[in-house]
């Protein structure tokens, strides 16, 4: 997962105003003067992004209204793929599963990450060592984690449950249609906590100590300073973690492949997994239509989240 700078820094170019060299072309944009150098720096990223993300996405959108199978000829078939999509129970249940799974995961990850960040930010022994340990899941590849947990859930946990005499865990929860999603949530949360924890740690470090001092002089309890000082000042970071986290969880793929591969039955098929079947099954155009719908869903959900949380931010 990519970590973004939590709060965008406003760049004000007018402060140390240096007269630019005569030959540098100046661009006027929203009243601020941007150096041509900025654009040169941006250019490689823009080119790469366009070439490898935007362009393929557009091509995919074009294919979504054809009957393309991956090679050979294809013809325009209008919105037939989309029509079929909305009447396909497997696709719909994949959406339901993915969104439900993402909601639960994003809430759990945020709570655990914030709690860990606060713990690791307080005065405790072995602080940096502990931070390192909690950081480990982030640097291990998801598929590796998934296979290790797969073994734990299929073999170790049932053995343990048998010796401790806990009946409902004695058979693998991965083989249980109603419980397999819990395993996926556990592994996803375990893997995603560190990256969110880092964002929260950065946020905590940005809160000046004086605010807490002032609070404690006024007799605030630990809990009160958490709810009235820490949380309001951290809302920006919560937004980042929620939006990015939710977007990431919607794309859930590798952990599910490694744990259940969509099973038992089709109970844990994620949308990304159904889209991917299009590449191997000659169902390319249909799954491209699915991808387009998924893209729209992701954008709408993200905008909605931003809107809900916007305006609750506070700054000193």
């Amino acid at each position: 997962m990519t970590t973004f700078a939590p709060t965008p820094v406003e760049v004000h170019t007018e402060a140390p105003h240096v007269e630019p060299p005569v030959k540098t072309k100046l661009v006027k944009w929203h009243g601020e003067r941007a150096d041509a150098t900025s654009y040169i720096f941006l250019l490689p990223a823009v080119i790469l992004f366009t070439l490898f993300i935007t362009l393929p996405a557009l091509i995919g959108m074009i294919y979504s209204v054809t009957d393309y199978v991956g090679f050979g000829d294809s013809k325009f078939i209008g919105l037939a793929n989309f029509q079929a999509l909305f009447s396909d129970p497997r696709i719909l249940s994949a959406y339901a599963f993915t969104i439900g799974f993402s909601l639960i995961s994003v809430v759990l990850v945020n709570i655990i990450a914030l709690a860990l960040a606060i713990g690791l930010n307080s005065k405790i022994a072995w602080k940096s060592g502990l931070r390192g340990i909690f950081f480990i899941p982030m640097v291990i590849s998801g598929i590796v984690i998934a296979y290790v947990f797969n073994f734990l859930f299929s073999n170790s946990l049932p053995t343990l449950a048998t010796s401790l005499n806990i009946p409902f865990l004695q058979s693998s929860i991965l083989a249980n249609e109603n419980l397999a999603w819990i395993a996926i949530v556990i592994v996803t949360v375990w893997q995603s906590v560190p990256s969110m924890m880092i964002v929260y740690l950065a946020g905590l470090l940005a809160i000046p100590g004086e605010v807490y001092e002032a609070g404690s002089l006024d007799g605030a309890t630990k809990w009160r300073s958490f709810t009235s000082i820490t949380l309001p000042l951290m809302v920006g970071y919560v937004v980042i973690n929620t939006v990015l986290g939710f977007k990431n969880f919607l794309n859930a793929y590798d952990i599910i492949v490694g744990l259940t591969n969509g099973g038992p039955g089709t109970s844990t098929f994620s949308v990304a997994m159904t889209i991917f079947t299009g590449f191997t099954s000659g169902d390319y155009a249909y799954q491209m239509a699915n991808a387009v719908v998924f893209f729209i869903v992701t954008v709408v959900v993200s905008l909605l989240q931003l809107r809900l949380i916007k305006g609750r931010e506070m700054s000193l």
Partner: protein
């Protein structure tokens, strides 16, 4: 399992943030369902969009080399026999100087090569539903005029056309057949006084006597769903239904199938699935949590009497115990002894239309199909020859299937006709865990209808 050995080149769709998935339980050694998943990856398509320039460079590779010999690219990437064919290519290159064969054993996707107009000159590849789309779309050249074509048994050549045909041409030449059935432990059978069953009542009785003796009758691995579709489902479906005929009718009816039509999964496979679930009920109790590798280990350790796997499992079982006395029999599904074995065209030869050196490719194809070379390959690799007058297989583990192959009593698994967009393996997993066969078949029917609507 999404990806098998060859699928390792696939990347996940959450672009960039996740690594390529690979298989947990390892690929089955020979043949079969794992091949289906070797389609184009997302990465491939991105490359297509971006790397047009590289295409031109690659296309240049197939032309005549500096030495004057014609360069051809021979595509063969079945992992277990890359070394075998590597030596064969080397020997061929040093035996003459007109044709220079390059052995391409990379696990790259064929679709991408075909899309960018740079297909291999000759391919020796698994023939399955995915490969058959090349036939259906007219991507492959007609080989009917080759003398080698006449040596292939018509009933084996028919396996090719069961998936797809193009204008009555002969586009694909079968090279190696894998036959699969129920692998059984001869020692456990003898110890319990059980004979190899040849009818459905005998099969049930055999399971019952193992069960009564405290021996696990069948070792099942529901966690790897492909083991269910290629094993339990294909064996029981193919053992009771004329598979090729069913799919032929199903395709003809297209999107117009009604639930009361005789040509539905529910109305055709009902009895087979019912019996499949009865066999499944004799499985090890922890089957839902067991994968292919667990199965090989358990069966190799003598924990069960029967195992629904193909010959590719033998090399894995051998690693556990090389001295097991094993055999294979077709799963009996009928009340009288009228059994069939599951086959698939593990390797087949074809030359794409897009090849610039078809005549050189044809010469090398003829070389590969020389009886001594082809028969040697097949007897070395637990496989059957598609030709008339082949040499008999000698390995006792598969020799019992010989009469069925000889008499043409075989079918291609009913699961292999179903495009991967319908996750039949997952549906089966649900069926064997819940025991609801009707729901499983109804889901197949409605999925098939939806697919027919948008592909017709």
């Amino acid at each position: 399992m999404l990806s098998r050995s060859l699928g390792a080149s696939e990347t996940s769709p959450s672009a960039g943030s996740t690594p390529a998935p690979f298989t947990a339980s390892g690929p089955p050694a020979a043949a079969d369902p794992q091949w289906r998943r070797t389609g184009p990856s997302r990465r491939t398509f991105l490359q297509l969009a971006g790397l047009g320039a590289a295409t031109a460079a690659l296309a240049g590779c197939t032309s005549t080399g500096a030495s004057g010999a014609t360069q051809i690219r021979f595509f063969q990437n079945k992992p277990e026999v890359i070394g075998y064919f590597g030596e064969l290519v080397e020997a061929y290159n040093s035996s003459q100087n007109r044709i220079r064969v390059t052995h391409d054993s990379s696990p790259t996707s064929l679709v991408a090569q075909i899309v960018r107009g740079a297909p291999p000159d000759l391919a020796l590849y698994n023939y399955n539903l995915e490969t058959s789309t090349y036939v259906a779309r007219g991507v492959l050249s007609d080989l009917a005029s080759l003398p080698e074509t006449s040596r292939i048994r018509p009933d084996v050549q028919a396996l090719v056309t069961q998936y797809a045909t193009y204008q009555g041409q002969t586009n694909v030449l079968p090279y190696s057949i894998t036959a699969a059935g129920v692998i059984y432990n001869k020692t456990i059978f003898a110890d319990n006084g059980v004979e190899v069953p040849t009818t459905w009542p005998e099969m049930l009785a055999a399971c019952q006597s193992f069960s009564d003796a405290g021996v696990t009758p069948v070792y099942s691995t529901y966690k790897d769903v492909w083991t269910l579709s290629q094993g339990l489902f294909d064996y029981s479906g193919g053992g009771s239904v004329d598979v090729a005929e069913f799919y032929k009718k199903l395709k003809n009816e297209g999107a117009n199938i009604l639930p009361d039509s005789p040509t539905t999964f529910e109305n055709t496979f009902g009895g087979a699935v019912d019996r499949m679930l009865q066999v499944a009920s004799f499985s090890n109790p922890d089957a839902p949590a067991r994968a292919y590798a667990d199965g090989n280990l358990a069966f190799g350790s003598g924990e069960a009497a029967m195992y629904m796997q193909g010959p590719w499992a033998f090399s894995e079982i051998e690693k556990v115990n090389p001295n097991l006395d094993l055999g294979t029999f077709p799963l009996p599904m009928k009340d009288d002894a009228d059994n069939r074995v599951r086959v698939n065209l593990d390797l087949s030869l074809w030359i794409p239309q897009g090849s610039q050196n078809k005549s050189a490719a044809r010469q090398f194809l003829s070389h590969l199909m020389q009886p001594d070379i082809q028969d040697a390959y097949n007897s070395d690799n637990l496989a059957y020859s598609p030709n008339n007058n082949p040499i008999a297989v000698t390995d006792p583990r598969i020799a019992e299937l010989q009469p069925y192959v000889d008499e043409g009593l075989f079918y291609q698994g009913p699961n292999t006709y179903i495009p991967p967009t319908i996750p039949i393996g997952n549906y089966l997993q649900e069926a064997v865990i819940s025991g609801d066969g009707t729901e499983f078949l109804r889901t197949l029917d409605s999925d098939w209808r939806r697919l027919a609507v948008r592909t017709s």
